[in-house]
């Protein structure tokens, strides 16, 4: 598996996702795709509304980690493909910051693999998020 760069500057667009899906239509052993999209929520915290999250990452470590997580998923589940993309920089509320895409001959394998990938990404990849409020103050996001 060649080392990939997971990071995309700014929001992930619906067109980017459509393109990724289209690329898999030549792989006719695939029966099921499962896609997870993380979208920035306009959460209200103490009366202030989140307008964007600004993402930073320890990029070298994160890319190594993403590779390792994908390899683990290939070991555990029967997968044809697996792709991960994450935003860096500002992503506005309503925009997409995470795109995890798995493909398998069988739906159950795809679903189990997607859950594993998303949970592991959240727990293990050094990505940091600054929630920016309307009044330009901020707080640091922590995954739960």
């Amino acid at each position: 598996m060649k080392k990939k760069n997971v990071f995309i500057q700014g929001a992930i667009t619906p067109d980017f996702i459509a393109n990724s899906i289209a690329k898999h239509q030549s792989k006719t052993t695939i029966g099921a795709h499962d896609i997870f999209l993380g979208q920035v929520r306009a959460d209200e915290i103490d009366g202030k509304t989140v307008t964007a999250i600004e993402y930073t990452a320890y990029e070298e470590m994160a890319n190594t980690k993403f590779d390792e997580i994908r390899e683990r998923a290939f070991d555990k589940f029967e997968l044809t493909c697996s792709h991960i993309y994450h935003s860096l920089g500002a992503v506005k509320a309503g925009e997409l910051c995470l795109f995890v895409f798995v493909s398998s001959p069988r739906r159950k394998e795809a679903m189990k693999a997607l859950e594993y990938l998303v949970e592991t990404i959240k727990a293990e990849t050094p990505i940091f998020g600054k929630e920016i409020f309307k009044d330009e103050t901020h707080q640091w996001k922590v995954n739960s």
Binding site: Y58, L98, K122, G129
Partner: protein, 81 residues
Amino acid sequence: MLVITLKYFGMLVEQTHTHTEKIELAANKISMNDLELQILTKYPKLSTLTYNIALNQKIVAKEALISNGDEIAFLPPFAGG
């Protein structure tokens, strides 16, 4: 003497005011634990924050020894996705 690179991320940068710095240590070996104590002396407010420390991109035990040229990163809680 050891020359190492330090990296700080996320909310930690609000205390260190730098993302990265190279430092020289007058020692041939130093553990991650001892390095952490030195860094906390330099940036005392880091001690109020939660973080993990990675040695060459891996989270390691505090007893791990640092070599010349290593990269040590201070990582606040992850928030990907």
